[in-house]
Amino acid sequence: MSDDLPTPAALWDRLRAATPARIALGRVGHAPPLGAVLAFQLDHARARDAVHAPFDAAALAAELAPLPTITVASAAGDRATYLRRPDLGRRLATESAERLAGAKAVHDVAIVIGEGLSATGVQAGAAALVRALVAELNGLSLAPVVIATGARVALGDAIGEALGARVVIMVIGERPGLSVADSLGIYMTYAPRVGRADSERNCISNIHGRGGLTPVRAAATLARLLREALRRGLSGVELKDDAEALPIQPTLIPETPA
């Protein structure tokens, strides 16, 4: 009988291949082997570094050139304040609000980039994503790209409103996991103004290079949503992208973007 069956070692290899979970690690006494402990610590360290890495707004602006950019800051002055006070991350610093008021005009679209919870992800992938988005605009007028430090998603409302944009597109670093620390998300809000609810936004998440959405595919999806939002004059739960199924997103993670 047992001749037909795989050996336990072969069985565990099959089981390991069925899930990204850290199964069949083995034991040293009651603990996992040191190799597994260090692998976990490295992944956690990378996620922590992504959250706390300094955000180089000037380098991102240089990478985006010749697109014009404006750099602003939220009212959350430092990283520790940012993590504790999502309300401050949704408000513009006073001098930033004044600077944006000077750029006010009639724009179809404003694009905002915030480092969010992954400066690493934004530094690595935001410029390519924004270029892909711009390529999809097809004649729509674009405000100067705003680079916002210490931003929560809803800061885009204040920025879009200050610039006089019909739609604001917020590109932001997502909460890092152990397997992916550099994922980006896009939030689109029609008629941005302070106080918009999360249910009035459309979100495309999991944009990264480890099996996530590519920038080109994310931009194409966003372009469809954008045209529908402009045509129907709304965004959010009433606006659905039926063209293709998006990857499954975990629904329980309280990123508390609003």
Binding site: S2, D4, L5, P6, T7, P8, A9, L11, W12, R14, L15, R16, A18, T19, P20, A21, R22, I23, A24, L25, R27, G29, H30, A31, P32, A36, F40, D43, H44, A47, R48, A50, V51, L83, R84, R85, P86, D87, L117, R175, P176, G177, L178, S179, A181, I248, P250, T251, L252, I253, P254, T256
Partner: protein
């Protein structure tokens, strides 16, 4: 006017405008209360608030509703179900007196069980604010809450575990692999419970059938659960699927529960539906609830009340439904509510204490996110403290890493470590099964399976898992 809440403390007069203000200011530091604008202005004010709280009669919490009775069904549930006879021995006490009474050695598990129906969540939250971590542990350790379905949870000297085999795409083989790995580490007697990546009725039906088949095939004396929304569970039961436990996240106000898409009526309907299936073999506790500090605030449904008091009110909801399991998902909500390891550890001990004192089978998901100031060392501390406190069950995932929800919890190995450090054992029925599978060593510990000597793996071999 002086106001009802004031004290002269350390040569300074402190005034508090309301009971809610006293409660919030008396709470140990946490980021969520600061975010809500409710935290004490200074460390000295925090201590003064505790002094005011200590002198308040317990009866005061029956007279002054923190969340209005008229507009909140959770308050109505708490007040209308209060047991005045059970409360009688405590009725002349202040909050400070209650703290002292709880700490007395002669206040034993029988006495604590007798007063539980006489305590309301606000009283329990109040007294916890006067207690140090060691007080929360010593008192919780004395409480015994025993529940049962296919095994018995909460007996003295036992620690149960939830096996959480989540998969980012709900892949049945990936989930089965994580279940098998958990079982050979002796994990899974509280429940084998999946958080589905996609919250839909067809998806949940598929996973429920798969878990039930696995449990039946190996005659495992435990219960399974797919943690889908309660309205999905009602639909799934109506379709005749084998539902052991009905799960739901709950919070401490009617408005916060509405944010979860539930009310007390739908919980009652689900409780009745699950009971009607009669699937329990040694007991009929059929509900599983998760909670966590900050849930009400994040839904803007906290009524100006501190997050720890709102959390205790969620236990007022839970106890109306005789649950098998309740756990706080303490660190999942993030640093906006619990900033670091110190705040997470304190909150977990408060939640465990408050739940137990109110008569709940309290467990914990000792966990943290990557943007919190916490790591696995903090979880080692927390799991040890909780186990010493007699925590009913802990959640365990493979290698501390939940690959679906992207946060870190305890691991299968952590459960082994707790059993070795503190001598706690699995639920007796489940332990008997582990023994029959050859997984219990002569000293009672969980046997390590070397590759060549895997009786259980051979038994499981050639089944659906290995195909």
């Amino acid at each position: 006017m002086g106001g009802a809440y004031h004290c002269d403390f350390g040569g300074e007069r402190h005034r508090f405008g309301s009971l809610a203000h006293v409660m919030a200011c008396a709470t140990p530091t946490r980021s969520g209360d600061a975010l809500a604008g409710l935290a004490a202005d200074s460390a000295a004010q925090r201590v003064a608030a505790r002094a005011v709280l200590a002198d308040l009669p317990l009866r005061h919490f029956l007279d002054v509703a923190l969340v209005p009775y008229e507009s909140d069904e959770v308050t109505r549930l708490i007040i209308d179900s209060h047991d005045a006879i059970a409360f009688a021995p405590l009725s002349a006490m202040t909050v400070g007196d209650l703290r002292d009474w709880l700490l007395r050695p002669e206040t034993d598990s029988v006495a604590l069980a007798q007063v539980a129906p006489g305590l309301i969540p606000e009283m329990v939250a109040a007294v916890s604010k006067l207690m140090r971590n060691q007080d929360l542990i010593i008192v919780a350790q004395k409480v015994r809450v025993v529940t049962a379905f296919r095994n018995t949870i909460g007996l003295a000297g036992r620690l149960s575990t939830r096996l959480q085999p989540n998969h980012p795409a709900d892949d049945p083989r990936g989930i089965a692999a994580a279940v098998l790995d958990g079982l050979i580490h002796g994990v899974g007697d509280a429940v084998i419970g999946i958080n589905p990546a996609t919250d839909s009725v067809p998806g949940a039906l598929r996973l429920i059938a798969m878990l039930d088949d696995l449990r039946e095939r190996y005659a495992i004396p435990t219960q399974t659960c797919v943690l889908t929304h309660v309205t999905n569970s009602l639909e799934i039961i109506a379709r005749g699927a084998p539902v052991d436990l009905v799960f739901q996240s709950i919070a401490g106000s009617e408005a916060a529960n509405r944010g979860f898409g539930i009310d007390l009526a739908v919980l009652r309907a689900a409780h009745d539906a699950a009971l009607s299936l009669g699937r329990g073999t040694v007991g009929q506790n059929v509900m599983y609830f998760e909670t966590g500090q900050g849930a009400a605030l994040s839904a803007d449904a906290h009524h100006g009340i501190d997050q720890q008091t709102m959390e205790a009110r969620a236990y007022g909801v839970a106890r109306a439904f005789d649950p098998l399991l309740v756990n706080t998902v303490v660190g999942f909500i993030g640093p906006e509510y619990l900033y670091d390891g110190k705040e997470i550890i304190r909150a977990a001990l408060e939640d465990h204490f408050c739940g137990k004192l109110l008569g709940l089978p309290m467990g914990c998901d000792a966990c943290y996110t990557n943007h919190a100031e916490a790591d696995q060392d903090d979880m080692d501390t927390l799991m040890t403290l909780l186990t010493v406190a007699g925590c009913s069950f802990l959640i365990c995932v493979p290698g501390n890493d939940d690959v679906m929800l992207s946060y870190q919890s305890l691991s299968y190995h952590d459960a082994l470590a707790l059993r070795a450090m503190l001598g706690v054992r699995a639920a007796p029925e489940f332990e008997g099964w582990l023994d029959a599978m050859g997984l219990i060593a002569p000293d009672g510990s969980i046997r390590a399976l070397a590759d060549g000597a895997a009786g259980l793996v051979h038994r499981l071999n050639g089944t659906g898992i290995a195909a």
